[in-house]
Subunit: 704 residues, 2 copies
């Protein structure tokens, strides 16, 4: 979807309203009235066969007279007439369409069929469609309120898309009261054609949009979304509230990775990588939009607190610490400057308590000194209404203060005395909140985004591997029609990707087993290999530490007999014979492919740590060396891996390399749905980890 196309939709020079109506309360009426009353700068073409005039404009029976001249057709006819209206619009060669009409997919099977038919029509004609079942689209810079929302927004730097029309209406209503301005507002509706991905791309390059804000209930194409979001976040803040969870069932629950990773985890990981600011609640969505649209991001995390009341200052300091920010320590020069005009009882640490009788000028002077301090990255200014407080004048003077390009957030606590100052502060571009905790969370989000923007370049190591060989194994498995690569095949694939694998092979007879064991070297392990047996340990299908040829022969017979008894008639690939893995620390590394965001890598210490303690780290592939090491460090058991506190040290870089090699493998082969190396045996000192057991689950080829 090119950008030009969305310009027709987001900034049309002419709008046709198909289904325009003279009857107040009808969508077709409200839409036309809002468009006219908003002062839309382009041409308005009401279409209604039963009227010649509507709200003072010429009305047309159809678009025959406007062939090739309509940028955007808004359709607000009854559901039953929607298909005909779309055909009419296409016949007139309109450049884009928004369907406000409801009654499609959201209302059942019949609606879904109609929606599909319309979407097919539009896709084949290459005409972009917003909706159906949406509130419309607003662009304040051309005074276009093409929506049936009651409140039209003020112009401003935020553009917002919302999958819930009702929520968009609530935000508009809230914004109006708080004087928060918007550039574009897009109600996504059923997302039959255009989705969040298209608007992320469009808004990223839109110069009028300084902050992108989105409310989503589902993300249709996770990988495209993340790519578009990351590209947008490079240019401007992208704040997303994602509600609901994808069906956890979609992540197959059969492997460790699958059952531990949740959908929420996948979103967190994906958003974090893409630099998306995630709003955890509706309030955060509004708070963050306000803060990001009005203030620069802090260059660091050192926060100064200015207050006229001790208690709220302590609250703010608590929140700063709790949220992992740093309470700023003022330079001596700043403290001396403050001392020169603040009363002796004033607190000059942090919080800086300018006392209950602080007048507006004291607020301003204090802020200027504090924000210009080199040890300060951001400031929170708290005001409570006390006997001498002039809240409104303080609001004005705060705006005039020199802020040295750093963010300042106001916290005006109270109601009657302070709420009237909110519009004033916001008008001047100072975000204001009712509690210190919310101000601190906003600064944290801003600092996190800034840190992401300054992140080092990601360099994904590309290991030389034998991709062809892995391809041949996958092809073989595909020919067999199997969903599981057993241990032997999985190890073959992993060996091709540079993993160290104990020497071994499948044996079909006791003699062959002895031959393999002799070649591999004693002691050996023997394991049943059958597509019917997934948990071979559970069925007693594994024998370890076999010391000689007699033991191998006995082992072969025993495993064979046990298999025939437990799985009569099931196919047996053979008995896998291999040299025992070297000694070392057991770790588990793996991958589960998230339906939205693709391959999610997983790491945990073996034994109790994954199973009982759920001490597991996740990261989306592809992964860099630094990110892999950060995964290890993010586990609670990290200290133990370094040998501290009674732990056994191990070669951490071998684990990190294993994760990167898996990352490369699952990126190369989208057919891999799940992969588990359990365990990888990692030596204490140098040297690679060795794969003691592995399993790969294969799905339908997704994409390459």
């Amino acid at each position: 979807m090119g950008n030009m196309m969305l310009d027709d939709l987001l900034a049309p020079k002419s709008v046709a309203v198909i289904g325009a109506s003279r009857q107040p309360g009808k969508v077709g009426h409200e839409l036309l009235a809002n468009l006219i009353n908003g002062g839309y700068k382009g041409a308005i073409i009401p279409v209604n066969p039963k009227a010649s005039q509507l709200l003072g404009l010429n009305c047309y029976p159809n678009l025959a007279s406007h062939r090739n001249s309509v940028d955007l057709a808004a359709i607000a006819v009854p559901t039953a007439n929607a298909l005909a209206a779309v055909r009419e619009a296409l016949d007139a060669n309109v450049k884009s369409i928004v369907i406000l009409t409801a009654g499609f997919r959201e209302s059942g099977q019949e609606g879904a069929r109609l929606e599909e038919e319309i979407t097919r029509l539009l896709k084949s004609s290459g005409t972009p469609l917003l909706g159906p079942n949406c509130l419309g689209v607003i662009n304040t810079s051309i005074n276009m309120n093409l929506s049936f929302a009651r409140s039209a927004p003020l112009p401003g730097p935020i553009s917002l898309f919302s999958q819930s029309g009702a929520l968009l209406a609530a935000i508009l209503d809230w914004a109006w009261l708080n004087r928060l301005g918007f550039s574009k507002l897009i109600s996504l509706g059923n997302k039959a054609h255009l989705t969040e991905v298209d608007f992320l791309r469009a808004l990223a390059t839109d110069e009028e949009t300084k902050v992108i804000c989105g409310y989503l209930e589902s993300i249709t194409e996770g990988d495209l979304f993340i790519k578009a979001a990351e590209q947008a976040a490079e240019k401007k803040p992208v704040i997303i509230q994602k509600v609901g969870t994808t069906s956890a069932g979609k992540l197959a629950a059969s492997s460790h990775t699958g059952s531990l990773a949740g959908a929420d985890m996948a979103y967190g990981s994906a958003f974090g990588r893409a630099g998306v600011i995630r709003a955890e609640s509706f309030e955060e969505l509004l708070d963050f939009s306000m803060a990001f649209s009005m203030q620069p991001c802090p260059k660091g995390t050192r926060v100064a607190i200015i207050t006229n009341a001790g208690g709220p200052g302590v609250m703010a300091a608590d929140a700063v610490e709790r949220d992992g920010l740093i309470p700023a320590s003022l330079e001596a020069g700043s403290i001396a400057s403050l001392r020169s005009f603040l009363p002796p009882a004033a607190g000059l640490g942090n919080p800086i308590d300018i006392l209950g009788d602080a007048d507006p000028q004291k607020y301003r002077s204090t802020l200027e000194i504090v924000i210009n301090d080199n040890q300060v990255d951001a400031a929170i200014v708290i005001l409570t209404p006390q006997a001498m407080t002039s809240a409104m004048e303080t609001a004005s003077l705060l705006a005039q203060a020199d802020r040295a390009g750093k963010p300042v957030i106001a916290v005006f606590m109270g109601g009657k005395e302070v709420k009237p100052c909110y519009p004033e502060l916001l008008r001047q571009g100072t975000p204001v909140f009712a509690s210190p905790e919310r101000a601190v969370r906003a600064i944290k989000a801003m600092a996190k985004y800034e840190a992401w923007r300054r992140r080092p370049v990601r360099i994904v190591t590309h290991y030389p591997v034998n991709r062809r060989r892995a391809e041949r194994v996958f092809a073989r498995i595909a020919r067999q029609g199997r969903a599981q690569a057993g241990e032997a095949a999985s190890k073959e694939i992993l060996r091709a990707y540079g993993f160290s694998i104990p020497e071994g092979a499948l044996a079909l007879s006791a003699g062959e087993a002895v031959e393999i064991a002799s070649r591999a070297g004693f002691p050996v392990a023997m394991k049943i290999a059958s597509p019917s047996v997934i948990h071979k340990t559970d069925m007693g299908g594994v024998r370890l530490g076999i010391l000689d040829a007699d033991g191998v022969r006995d082992g072969f017979d025993l495993l064979n007999a046990k298999f025939q008894r437990l799985f009569p008639g099931a196919p047996l690939d053979g008995i896998y014979v291999e040299s025992m893995a070297r000694r070392g620390r057991e770790v588990i590394i793996g991958m589960a492919r998230d339906p939205q965001f693709g391959p999610m890598l997983m790491f945990g210490l073996g034994g109790i740590f994954v199973e009982a303690l759920k001490d597991v780290a996740f990261h989306l592939a592809p992964i860099t060396a630094d990110e892999a090491m950060a995964m290890l460090k993010s586990t609670r058991s990290y200290q133990m891996m370094t040998g501290a506190r009674g732990g056994v040290p191990m070669n951490l870089s071998a684990v990190a390399e294993g994760l990167q090699r898996i990352s490369q493998l699952v990126t190369d082969f989208p057919t891999i749905m799940e992969l588990d190396i359990n365990p990888l045996i990692v030596p204490e000192g140098s040297g690679p980890g060795q794969v003691a057991d592995a399993r790969i689950t294969i799905g339908k080829e997704l994409k390459t």
Copy 2:
């Protein structure tokens, strides 16, 4: 402090204002003006030697003419005259005093001295004092606004004490805007005499107070506070926001317990036991006060969500799940009733989506059916402003709905269209929030309080122990002037309290060591015992598994020599010789005495779990059997202790009993500051745990 005394202060029949002033802006003026303008029902006696009339009242040069007739004297003179004013009030036999004047402890040493002198005076006369340095006191039922706050509150069921005057002012200001009513408001100021404990007690028995709400920066006497809070919580909800942290340094950092337990943990544990509802932020303090004062608590955790918009419904459902509440499943009958009048497209699961065009009557009928459903404990009603929405009328009808004695919380999202409904909803007693997440948190707090109220009776087991013997050991240590009971003495004490201790004793010669070892039975352990050696393992002062007499002799000589080399001239108690502890699982149990709340018990699995994984549980003593078992269950490693997932099972009740016995010991002996049993060896099957090593740190006797 009896209740009657506080009645003089909280509900005086006569108030003298010492330092009453004719000059607007002065505290003595604002105070008098507020008292008069508020319509105070009692007698007002302005005191000012320079005036005969003030604001229409007779003014007196002093209180000589009012001996024995003043219930409450409010002092608002300059700091320098405060002491004289107090003397004057005491001479006139006033029954209680509030000092609003500032300039005391908060302003430095001189002020602190003055404050101490005044407090001494008042304590010796038995006259209760509120303040100094406070905003005053308000009682709406007698129209008493004895404060210099700008906004007087509406009458209502909430009583609030605040350690920050500024915050009290902000709350008043906020409450005024939101039409939230109060009974008593108390500004604690410097808490020179009366503290939160006194007001908790007074408000607990005050029939006009339905909800107690407090903002605290410090808690002076933790144990008294908890006792008073628990007694109050039995009668009515007690909501406390506690900011700041006690100095972590006060908890000695030398033992595991001390360094793991934080002050915040102590507050959490203490509040939880006492049934105190902890507000984590200023917003929660206001939100919870609103919810608790207006609605009954839910009997369970099943929450129904009614909404006219899908998105916010999903937000609420997310929050319900995240906060550990249960999304209610409606009964078939309720669903049938809803279907009879809701449109076919309405969602009848939970959230119950009554669609965007829902009118007020639909809201009311839906609420009545849902809240009367036996599967529903509480309901959240969400409204977003849409084309057909009548927010104000909906607010009215919601109030009229039959609610079956269950809590209903409204979420009206937006601004211009919905904010005007807030006062209407609140006036009718329906709490209303701007986001679903806040409504869910309020319901969670209410459900938690209700569960606490219905908790089973706590029965603390009292084990028969040899308290005398422990007393003798403590007396011996006290005579030695030691701060540490070494291993031998600690084990003696623990044995007296019923712990299983390996047979052993201190040896002063190699021969004695052999004798002890033979009596105890081989193999034995040998350990250096010296007050100079706290970490004996670190210095190589422990030898384990010695098999025979020769080994004991060698061990004695070796440990002795090592000690003389490493600690030349230090005192040596001897070498502790004991039989090796039985085999079993190692756990750590211990106690650190919190300066605020007393003995904090601690438990963790031995080895990596405490040190590396910080997998530790805490609980205040005294502890019941159920609570001890709950401590074990609250660790991440609990599964492993039951033998699940590769863990080794162990006798959990032996650990629980150990915790209870420690609980009894540290309650009996407040001199114990810290206690560590590290490890306690717990058998797999039945039988008690055995103390392999232990250490007790002794402090000054605190109280008994």
